[in-house]
C-alpha cells in the first residue's frame, strides 16, 4: 500500500506570528513535488511544521499521513512512520558518531514495533551501513565521524541522503537540499535522491529556489507558495517560467507587493 501525505488548510505560527495561512497539498509515494516561492513565503515553516518541530505551532487545518493524524504525533513518531525531513542546515551533534546515531535510529524503529526487540546486531549494522555508503557514494570514514560536526556543506547534504538510504522513508521533504552545493555535489545528492525514489518509491517535496535542482530530479508537479499559501500549481513548465520571469507576475496576479515579501 502506498502512503500519502494530505495537507488540508494548514495554518501554522511561529512565536504567535501566523506564517502558514491555509496550505493544501497532497503528496503520494512515488510523486515528486517541487515547492518554490520567494524567501519568507513559508516553505521552511511548512517543512518544520510537518516534521513536528516544537517551535512551529499548527493553529488550524489538518494533516493526514498514511491514514493517521500527523499533527497529533511527536517528531520521532512521524519519522518512524516514514516521514523524513532533509534539513537545509543539518545540526551538528558533537561526540555522536554517524554510525552510533544511525544505529540508534534503526533500533528506535525496531523497538517501537516490538518493545522486546534487542536491536540490530553490530555486525549486521556494519554490513548495512557499508553497503549503503558504497551505494550512495559516501566516504566510509563518515561512519566514525561526529555527526555533521565540521562537515562541509556538501558533506552534510550527503549525510542526509545516507540517512534516508538507511532509514528508508516513504515521503521526504527536502528543504533546500541544493543550497550550498557545487555542481558535483549536487549531482551526487540528486543521484542519491533519484535512486531512493526508484528503490523505495519515495515521495518527495523538493523545496528549492532553483530550476537547476529540477534538471536533476524531475518534478511531476510544481507549486508556488506566497504569503503562507500555495497559489499556483502546475507541471514542470511552471518552474521554467519562474526561472525566466521571476516571481513578479505571480505576486501581481495575487495582489502581493514585492515590499511585503522583503
Amino acid at each position: 500500500m502506498t502512503a500519502a501525505l494530505e495537507i488540508k488548510n494548514l495554518h501554522s505560527a511561529v512565536e504567535d506570528q501566523q506564517i502558514l495561512k491555509g496550505v493544501n497539498l497532497t503528496v503520494r509515494q512515488g510523486e515528486v513535488h517541487a515547492l518554490m516561492g520567494p524567501n519568507g513565503s513559508g516553505k521552511s515553516t511548512l517543512a518544520y511544521t510537518l516534521a513536528g518541530h516544537p517551535f512551529y505551532e499548527p493553529t488550524a487545518g489538518e494533516v493526514v499521513y498514511d491514514g493517521q493524524d500527523l499533527l497529533e504525533m511527536d517528531a520521532d513518531e512521524r519519522s518512524r512512520a516514514g516521514l523524513f525531513l532533509a534539513f537545509q542546515y543539518p545540526v551538528a551533534i558533537p561526540g555522536v558518531t554517524v554510525a552510533n546515531f544511525l544505529r540508534q535510529s534503526i533500533n528506535s524503529r525496531r523497538k517501537a514495533e516490538n518493545p522486546d526487540d534487542k536491536g540490530i546486531s553490530i555486525p549486521a549494522f556494519r554490513r548495512l551501513l557499508k553497503q549503503k555508503m558504497t551505494e550512495f557514494n559516501v566516504d566510509h570514514k563518515f561512519a566514525g565521524r561526529y555527526l555533521n560536526d565540521g562537515f562541509s556543506g556538501g558533506e552534510k547534504k550527503r549525510a542526509e541522503i545516507l540517512q534516508m538510504a538507511v532509514l528508508e522513508p516513504k515521503i521526504a521533504i527536502m528543504d533546500e537540499t541544493d543550497s550550498g552545493l557545487d555542481i558535483d555535489a549536487l549531482k551526487v545528492v540528486s543521484d542519491g535522491a533519484n535512486r531512493l525514489k526508484s528503490e523505495l518509491n519515495l515521495g518527495m517535496v523538493l523545496i528549492t529556489h532553483y530550476q537547476r535542482l529540477l534538471d536533476y530530479i524531475k518534478p511531476d508537479y510544481v507549486h508556488i507558495m506566497l504569503e503562507g499559501r500555495i497559489v499556483e500549481s502546475g507541471g514542470p513548465e511552471l518552474a521554467l517560467e519562474l526561472e525566466k520571469h521571476g516571481y513578479g507576475w505571480v505576486m501581481e496576479k495575487h495582489g502581493v507587493s514585492a515590499a511585503a515579501e522583503a
Binding site: V91, V96, Q104
Partner: protein
C-alpha cells in the same frame, strides 16, 4: 569510637607495625592538622563549599578493628573485573586480593599496597611519600591525611621500564573511614598506565569520609597515564589533595571521572618542573540530586617550553551544583609555554547550577595561554534533529549527553571501564521533567 587525636595516630601506627620514621611523619602531619583551623566559607578556596554539616570527629580515623575484612556483597563486582597485569582490591584500606603478572615482576615493576610498601620498600617511600607532591602544609585535609592515611597503592616503575600491561586498583569503602594514599613514581624513561577506582555502597547511611591523597611523580622522559574513577555513594564526603609532577620531556595524562559523593572537594595540581614537560588533565563529572562537586585545579608552569592542557566537562541535574576553579600559573622565566584550560558545563535542568571560574597568573611574557568556560543547556535543535530521525526524546537526550562526554571517555584506556561509565551516564540522565 575514636576521634582524630595524637593518641589515635600512635595507635594506628602501632597497629600497622610501622617503622619509627613513618610514625614521626604522621605525628608531624598531625601537628599541622592540629594547628590549622577548619576551613570555612570565609577562606577563598572554600567560598563555595561549606563543611558546616560535616561531623568529622564523629567519623574518626580508621583504626584496627574498624576495617572490613571481606568485600561486602553490595560492592560493584564489575569494578573488580578489569583486565590488567596488576590488580588489587582493598576494602577500608585493607588489601583483600592482589595479583601481579610474572611479566611485570620480571620487569622490576613494584605494585603493592602502601603498607607493604612502607615495610618492604622503605627507602623509596621515605624519599617520595608526601615530600615532593602533597604535603601536610597544603591544607587542613592534607595534614589530616598525612596523620591518618590508611591503605592505597604504591606503584614504582624503574628507569627505562615500560610496564607491559596496565595496573588497576579498586578501593572500596565499607566502614566509611577512608584515607587512601596513591603514590606513583616513574623513574627516568619509564612508562605505565594505572587506574584507581573508588566506590562505596549506594545504600550506605550516615556520614562517610574519603580523605585521600594522590601523588604522581613522572621522571624525565617518563610517561604516565593515570585514571581515577570515583563512584562513591552519596553519603560520602570526599576531601582530597592530588598533585602530579613532571620532569624534563615527561608526560602525564591524567583522567578523572566523578560520579559519586554527596559533597566533594579536590585540589588537583599539575607541576611542570622542567623544559619539555607535558601534562593533560581531563575531567568528567555528572551530578544529580543534591550532589556538590568542587574542583580546584592548578596548572603550574615552573619551566619554559612546557605544555598543559585541561578539559573538564560536567553535567548537572536536579539540585546538583558544581564548582570548577582553575588557574594557570607561569613563573617569570617560564617562556614559550602553552597553557590551555576549558570547562564545559551542561545543565540538564534549570534547578541545577554550575560555577566556572578560570584564572591566569602569568609572569612570563612569551607565552600562549587561553581559557574557555561555558555553561549551557541541551540544545533544542540537537534534540529535534535526533527526534526527527525517529529517536524518542529521552534517548535523544541521553545520546546528546553521552556525546558531550565522549571526547573525555575516549581518553580512558580501559574498554570495560568506558562501557561501565557509559552505563552510569545513562543511569544519571534517567528521565527528566523538563529540558
Amino acid at each position: 569510637m575514636s576521634e582524630f587525636t595524637q593518641d589515635a595516630v600512635k595507635a594506628l601506627s602501632a597497629y600497622l607495625n610501622e617503622p619509627e620514621w613513618m610514625l614521626e611523619r604522621r605525628l608531624a602531619s598531625f601537628a599541622v592538622y592540629d594547628q590549622t583551623p577548619m576551613p570555612t566559607i570565609k577562606d577563598e578556596a572554600w567560598r563555595r563549599t561549606s563543611l558546616r554539616r560535616l561531623k568529622l570527629d564523629k567519623i574518626g580515623p580508621s583504626l584496627n578493628g574498624d576495617a572490613a575484612t571481606e568485600l561486602p556483597a553490595d560492592a560493584n563486582a564489575q569494578m573488580l573485573d578489569i583486565a590488567a597485569g596488576g590488580s588489587m582490591v582493598q576494602v577500608d584500606g585493607v588489601r583483600l586480593s592482589y595479583e601481579l603478572s610474572e611479566e611485570l615482576k620480571a620487569q622490576g615493576v613494584i605494585f603493592c599496597d602502601m603498607h607493604t610498601a612502607v615495610q618492604e620498600h622503605g627507602e623509596l617511600v621515605q624519599k617520595y611519600f608526601m615530600s615532593q607532591c602533597v604535603t601536610a602544609e597544603d591544607g587542613k585535609f592534607a595534614a589530616l591525611h598525612g596523620a591518618f592515611w590508611r591503605g592505597g597503592t604504591f606503584v614504582y616503575i624503574p628507569e627505562g621500564v615500560k610496564a607491559a600491561t596496565p595496573l588497576h586498583n579498586a578501593l572500596w569503602s565499607a566502614n566509611g573511614k577512608t584515607f587512601t594514599h596513591t603514590l606513583v613514581v616513574l623513574e627516568k624513561g619509564a612508562e605505565a598506565v594505572f587506574s584507581d577506582e573508588f566506590g562505596s555502597a549506594k545504600t550506605a547511611k550516615g556520614q562517610f569520609l574519603h580523605n585521600g591523597a594522590v601523588e604522581l611523580i613522572v621522571g624525565d622522559d617518563a610517561h604516565l597515564t593515570y585514571v581515577s574513577l570515583q563512584e562513591f555513594g552519596d553519603n560520602m564526603w570526599q576531601l582530597t589533595h592530588e598533585r602530579g609532577r613532571v620532569g624534563r620531556d615527561g608526560k602525564l595524562d591524567w583522567i578523572m571521572s566523578i560520579m559519586g559523593t554527596g559533597l566533594m572537594k579536590a585540589f588537583q595540581t599539575l607541576e611542570l618542573d622542567e623544559e619539555g614537560g607535558w601534562g593533560r588533565m581531563s575531567g568528567l563529572f555528572f551530578g544529580d540530586k543534591r550532589q556538590h562537586f568542587d574542583l580546584d585545579t592548578q596548572q603550574n608552569h615552573n619551566a619554559g617550553n612546557t605544555v598543559s592542557d585541561l578539559l573538564y566537562k560536567g553535567a548537572m541535574k536536579h539540585q546538583a551544583r558544581s564548582v570548577w576553579q582553575g588557574m594557570i600559573k607561569a613563573l617569570p622565566d617560564a617562556q614559550k609555554i602553552d597553557g590551555f584550560q576549558a570547562n564545559r558545563n551542561l545543565l540538564l535542568e534549570s534547578s541545577a547550577r554550575a560555577d566556572s571560574i578560570p584564572g591566569l597568573e602569568i609572569e612570563a611574557d612569551d607565552v600562549s595561554c587561553t581559557h574557555a568556560s561555558t555553561i549551557g543547556k541541551v540544545d533544542d535543535e540537537e534534540l529535534f534533529y535526533l527526534m526527527s530521525r525517529g529517536i524518542p526524546r529521552e534517548l535523544a537526550l541521553r545520546i546528546i549527553v553521552q556525546g558531550f562526554f565522549d571526547p573525555i571517555m575516549q581518553r580512558i584506556p580501559f574498554e570495560g571501564v568506558r562501557q561501565r561509565m557509559a552505563e552510569q551516564i545513562i543511569d544519571k540522565v534517567g528521565s527528566l521533567d523538563e529540558s
